[in-house]
Symmetry: none
DNA sequence: TTGTCTTATGGGCAAATACTCACACAATCC
DNA sequence: GGATTGTGTGAGTATTTGCCCATAAGACAA
C-alpha cells in the first residue's frame, strides 16, 4: 500500500484552489493566474481537494419521491427514522449516496451537547460513511465498537472502522480487541470474561445510537471474503436458512438468529436494545434486500438508511 | 427580481439531476440517458439545481474561513486584493503568517515578465516578509523605497528593507538616502530637490504595486522606538487625533493626514496613487486595527494582507 | 560528485460542459 | 383572431476540463 503523505501546506493550497473553484466559481485558468501556477497544477489542486474529501457537496432538496418512500417505510415498519436517497440507475455501488446520508445522520447525532454513546458496526458501507464524515470535535461522546477488530490473520480488520471515526471526531473510542468469531463457544466466553472486554460490552449495551451494516450471505459474503468464516460455514449457514449477518451474527429471513453454527462463537456485542437506542442500518441493493427485510421483521433495527430502489422493493407487496 | 415560479416537480427533477451529477458523479450525457431527456436539458437541470441553491458546497478546511473573510473584506471595502491568513491563537507575533503571505504575493508580482516598479515601505512586518521571500532573479523589475533609509544616528535604518529585497531578487534598487523625517519643512524641500532624490520620488509615483506596513502610535510606536520622532512629537500626534502612520506620515481615524506637526517634515514619498497602483498594506493585530480601519476609510490602500482575527474585527459592525 | 529513481510540471488533445441562438408551443393580452 | 410574451427545446459552438505523456526538478544512494 502506497502512502501518499500529503503535506499540510499542500492541502492548504488544495483547499484554496477548491474554494476558488467551487465557492468563488472561478475557472481553472483563473485560479492558475491568481495562484501563479499553471492551469494543469490548478487542476491537480482542485482534484486533490476533491479526492482528499475537503469538498463536500450537499443537495438541499428532499426529492418528493424519496421523502414519500421514507414516510411509507417508517409507517409500515414502525421505524424511528428512515432516510431514502436517490438511486443512480446505472451504478452497482452499494455505498453511493447512502454513505453521505449516513455521515450526515451521524453528524446530527454528534452535534448533541449531551454526551452520547455511539455504537459502530463494521463493513464496507459503514467505512465509506465514515470516510465522508467531516471532522468534528466532540470529546463528550464515546464511540464503541460492536464487533471485534481482529482479523483471522491477527491484524486489525480492514473494515473495522472504529479507529477512523474516533480519529475524525476526537472522541474516546472503545474498540473490541477480539476476533469477530471465536474458535469455539468456550473461547468466546473466556474472551468475554476478560477485564479489558467486559466494560466495552457493557458500554455497547448503553449505546444511544448505533450504525450497522447488513452483510449478505451470497457467495461473496463479506464475512467469507474477509476470511472470518469458511466456505463450508457459509454454506451451512445458508442451509440453516440464514439470509444476512449483522455484526457477525447470522439471521434467517424473519430476523431470528440462527441456532448454533457460527452464531455460537460470534464474539461481537449484541445489537443495542431497540427500546433504548436508535439502531440504524445502512444498506442498499438487491443483494441486501433479504437481509433488510429480515432485520425489519425481527425488529433488529429501528432506523434505516437506504436508496430509492431498495425502498421501493421493501414496500412492494410481498 | 422576477420570480420564475418553478414548480415542485421541476425542482424535484433538478435535484435528481444535481444528485446524479454531483453525488453520483455522472456526466451530463449519462444523466440525460438515465432520465430520458436530451443532454442540453440535463445540463439545464443541473444548472437549475445550482442556481436554485439546491447544491451546497462546503470546504472542510480552516483555509475556507479565511478565504470567506477575504472575499467579504474585498467586497465591503472595495479592495483590489485581500489575503487573510489563519490566526495562531497562541501567538502574539504581528508577523506570523502574514509575512509568508506577503512574500507569496510579492513573488506573484515578481514573476511577471513585463517590468514592474515595486514600491516598498518599511517596518518590522515588511522586513519579516522580505526575509521569507525566496530568491528569484528578476532584473527586469525596479524596486523603489518609499521612505528614507537614514536613521537619526546617521546609519542606514535597520528596518529599511530595500537593500534586502533588491539583493534577493537581483533587481535594480532605488533607495532614498534621506531621513524619514527631516528636521524642518525647509530641509525636506531642500532634500527633495536634490538630483539624486528627485528621480527616486518620480519613480515611486510610477509604482505598479507597493507593499506597506502600518505603524501604530501607541507608547511603543515603531516611529518612536526607532528614534524617528520624540515622545513629545508622538504625544502631539496622538492629541491631534493620529491613529497610525504609513511611510512616516500620520493619519487620523478616517485616514486623513494630520495637518502640521511631523507630517510637515516627513521626507518619504507619497503613497502611490490607488488609481494606477495596487497598494497593499501588511498588518495584523489589535494594535494596528485602528490604523487599518483608517487606511481603508481614507482609501490610502487598496490591498490588504492580514490575519483571520483582524479580518473578523474589521468586518464586525462598527 | 554522479547516476538513478521518484515526483512534479507543463504541453497537447479529446471529452465534457456552458453558452448562444433560433424555433416551437402555450397562455395571455389587445 | 392574431399578436405577444414567456418558457422550454435542440443544435451548434466556444470554453473548460480531465488526462496522458514527455520532460524537468529534486531526492538519495553509491
Amino acid at each position: 500500500m502506497s502512502k501518499p503523505e500529503i503535506t499540510t501546506s499542500r492541502l492548504d493550497d488544495a483547499a484554496r484552489a477548491g474554494w476558488l473553484y467551487y465557492v468563488a466559481g472561478n475557472t481553472q485558468d483563473e485560479i492558475a493566474a491568481k495562484l501563479g501556477i499553471s492551469r494543469q497544477s490548478a487542476q491537480r489542486m482542485v482534484s486533490l481537494a476533491v479526492s482528499e474529501g475537503l469538498v463536500k457537496v450537499r443537495l438541499d432538496h428532499p426529492i418528493a419521491h424519496c421523502l414519500d418512500l421514507a414516510a411509507q417505510l417508517k409507517k409500515r415498519f414502525d421505524l424511528k427514522m428512515v432516510e431514502v436517497v436517490p438511486t443512480d440507475p446505472g451504478s452497482t455501488s452499494t455505498t453511493l449516496g447512502v454513505a453521505d446520508a449516513a455521515a450526515d445522520e451521524m453528524t446530527r447525532w454528534l452535534k448533541s451537547e449531551a454526551p452520547i454513546v455511539l455504537g459502530i458496526g463494521t463493513g464496507r458501507t459503514l467505512k465509506a460513511a465514515i470516510e465522508r464524515l467531516s471532522p468534528i470535535e466532540c470529546p463528550q461522546h464515546k464511540v464503541v465498537s460492536l464487533t471485534g477488530n481482529i482479523s483471522p490473520d491477527g491484524s486489525a480488520a480492514y473494515y473495522n472502522v472504529i479507529f477512523n471515526i474516533a480519529d475524525k471526531i476526537k472522541a474516546r473510542s472503545f474498540p473490541m480487541p477480539l476476533p469477530v468469531i471465536a474458535s469455539s463457544p468456550e473461547e468466546r466466553e473466556l474472551l468475554h470474561a476478560q477485564a479489558m472486554i467486559r466494560p466495552v460490552l457493557e458500554l455497547s449495551a448503553q449505546a444511544n445510537v448505533a450504525f450497522l451494516g447488513i452483510g449478505d450471505l451470497e457467495d461473496d459474503a463479506p464475512l467469507f471474503v474477509d476470511g472470518f468464516i469458511s466456505r463450508d460455514e457459509l454454506l451451512a449457514l445458508r442451509r440453516a436458512g440464514a439470509v444476512c449477518e449483522i455484526v457477525g451474527r447470522a439471521f434467517d429471513r424473519n430476523g431470528v438468529p440462527i441456532e448454533g453454527l457460527t452464531n455460537d462463537r460470534v464474539a461481537s456485542a449484541h445489537i443495542p436494545s431497540r427500546e433504548t437506542a436508535t439502531v440504524i442500518a445502512i444498506a442498499m441493493g438487491a443483494k441486501k434486500l433479504p437481509g433488510i427485510v429480515a432485520a425489519i421483521k425481527g425488529s433488529l433495527i429501528n432506523g434505516l438508511i437506504t436508496d430509492e430502489q431498495t425502498a421501493e422493493a421493501l414496500l412492494r407487496p410481498a
